[in-house]
């Protein structure tokens, strides 16, 4: 308990020497100018040395980093399917033949400017007459011919950005490595629920009339809110949507002919564009020096 002054002393005017001295220690010279925007502590818990907030783009990129390939992919054209035999074991593997045609890096997407790291890759050739002037400028500013197909391949960081103008040959992929193939599936047009979602349809008879292949009920009445929930499976356009087939093995590579043979099937009809990139669910391939493409001449 602190000692208490007697009643008379406490009523005396307080005089402390310490407070008087402090005035001399703090030497602030104001000159009568005050900042309008005085530094204030941030409302948010951010700053150097603090953990990154979960709801920021930086944290989002960090979360995504483990599932982003280290290097760019390539655009291939699906040429059809065939089979490959292993002469030793006699095992037959069904495979899809893809062809890379004039695949070149067109531009980059950077964290600073666009918010993410990606390589924009173009393939094929398009007559300049059929290319808009804006796109024509985009290509010619990089010293490239107009491309028919353009796609982006996201990469983990800056080190995955292949120089603009670099051409990606078939030997960008190594035999034995795994890739993910992304393409649009075959379009089926407007399809009913039985074909599109595998509904069972209704009876052939037992009083069913004219609704043998229809979807039946679309939900409850009053008990379910008297409405159709979003995402209800109904009849509609089927196919021609993007599909990714993961972990396809590269069986054969031919740089001159631009041939990449991958195991198994790839979505889409013959002649469709297929985007192939290192498989995200397999260890990244070891990149050999010879596989690196020659730098752009421009």
């Amino acid at each position: 308990m602190p000692p208490r002054l007697s009643g008379k002393l406490s009523q005396l005017p307080t005089f402390s020497l310490g407070g008087y001295l402090n005035q001399f220690e703090v030497q602030t010279r104001n000159f009568g100018i005050k900042s309008l925007n005085t530094p204030k502590p941030s409302r948010f818990n951010v700053g150097p040395g603090l953990p990154i907030l979960e709801s920021t783009s930086t944290a989002a990129l960090l979360r995504k980093a483990n599932s982003l390939p280290l290097r760019t992919g390539a655009i291939g054209i699906k040429k059809g399917m065939t089979a490959v035999y292993d002469p030793e074991t006699g095992k037959r593997t069904a495979c899809t033949v893809l062809q890379l045609d004039r695949v070149e890096v067109v531009s980059h997407k950077t964290r600073q400017k666009h918010g993410y790291w990606a390589v924009q890759v173009g393939a094929g050739w398009k007559h300049p007459k059929n290319v808009t002037k804006a796109m024509l400028g985009h290509f010619s500013s990089q010293g490239l011919s107009p491309k028919r197909h353009i796609f982006e391949f996201r990469v983990k960081d800056e080190s995955g950005l292949l120089p603009v103008g670099a051409s990606i040959q078939a030997n960008w992929f190594q035999e034995g490595q795994f890739v993910d193939a992304r393409s649009n599936s075959k379009g089926k047009g407007f399809a009913g629920v039985m074909k599109r979602h595998g509904f069972h349809g209704q009876d052939r008879s037992h009083g069913v009339s004219l609704t043998h292949r229809s979807m039946g009920s679309s939900g409850q009445g009053q008990g379910g809110g008297s409405r159709v929930y979003p995402g209800k499976k109904m009849a509609g356009n089927m196919g021609n949507h993007q599909n990714t087939v993961q972990n396809l093995k590269i069986l054969k590579v031919d740089a001159e002919a631009g041939i990449v043979v991958v195991s198994g099937a790839v979505s889409g009809p013959k002649g469709c564009t297929v985007r192939i990139q290192d498989a995200i669910k397999k260890p990244w391939p070891r990149i050999e020096a010879e596989a690196l493409p020659a730098d752009a001449t421009a």
Binding site: K79, T82, R102, L136
Partner: protein, 223 residues
């Protein structure tokens, strides 16, 4: 209409009204007319202006500077698509070079071009690297490049058996023609042989005789 006759006498006032309208035009009315107005005279450029200020005024000489340059179009690099028009054929070819370097197997089943090839209706014997040989009547030959196959039919233990053999599979060691078809069938696919009436039933005894003969021939040659 009934009031018309009474209005008639007042018809003479109409002309009077008309003159009144001419004097006081209806202000609510809108008019569209092309009025002649004098062309505004050109204001001369100020003489006492800084040197580069003329760029702000549009003139023919300045417009030339604004016209965009034509976009330079670069030539396309050499095309892999042109270099290899049929990639599937190329992949098949490279496979066949390993699996069938002399092209014997291909010729043996190319029944459309090679007269000495296996034909539908023939009895053949296929030996495998691992496992028993399979004998049967050729029902069909499916020519699909590396996936070329033959469908064989036989009867084993009184049960009809069919087997599709991939011709270029490394597991297929050899193919022998045991017996040619007695008459050239009129079809390429002899699926009618599955019906009871046309079924060839077991070919085992035919093949056994062939094997015996072959063995005797081989042993005779050896001596």
């Amino acid at each position: 209409m009934a009031s018309l006759p009474t209005m008639r006498p007042l018809g003479c006032l109409r002309s009077l009204l008309r003159t009144r309208e001419a004097m006081q035009p209806n202000l609510n009315c809108r008019w569209i007319s092309t009025a002649y107005s004098k062309r505004p005279e050109r204001v001369p450029l100020p003489q006492t202006s800084p040197n580069n200020s003329f760029l702000r005024f549009p003139s023919d000489s300045n417009r030339k500077m604004v016209t965009p340059k034509p976009v330079k179009i670069y030539p396309a690099p050499p095309s892999a698509r042109k270099a290899c028009k049929d990639p599937i054929a190329k992949v098949t070819e490279s496979q066949l070079q390993v699996l069938d370097p002399k092209g014997e197997r291909k010729a043996l089943f190319d029944y459309r071009r090679n007269p000495r090839s296996v034909k539908p209706g023939d009895i053949i014997r296929v030996t495998f690297k691992n496992g028993d040989p399979f004998n049967g009547v050729v029902l069909s030959i499916r020519l699909r490049g590396i996936d070329t196959s033959v469908l064989l039919r036989n009867e084993l233990t009184r049960v009809a058996v069919e087997m599709s053999v991939k011709v270029f599979s490394p597991n297929v060691q050899g193919v022998e023609i045991v017996e040619r078809a007695k008459r050239k069938p009129r079809r390429a696919r002899l699926y009618y042989m599955r019906s009871r009436k046309h079924d060839r039933r077991s070919v085992e005894n035919v093949v056994a005789a062939y094997v015996r003969q072959k063995k005797a021939f081989m042993s005779g040659r050896r001596q």
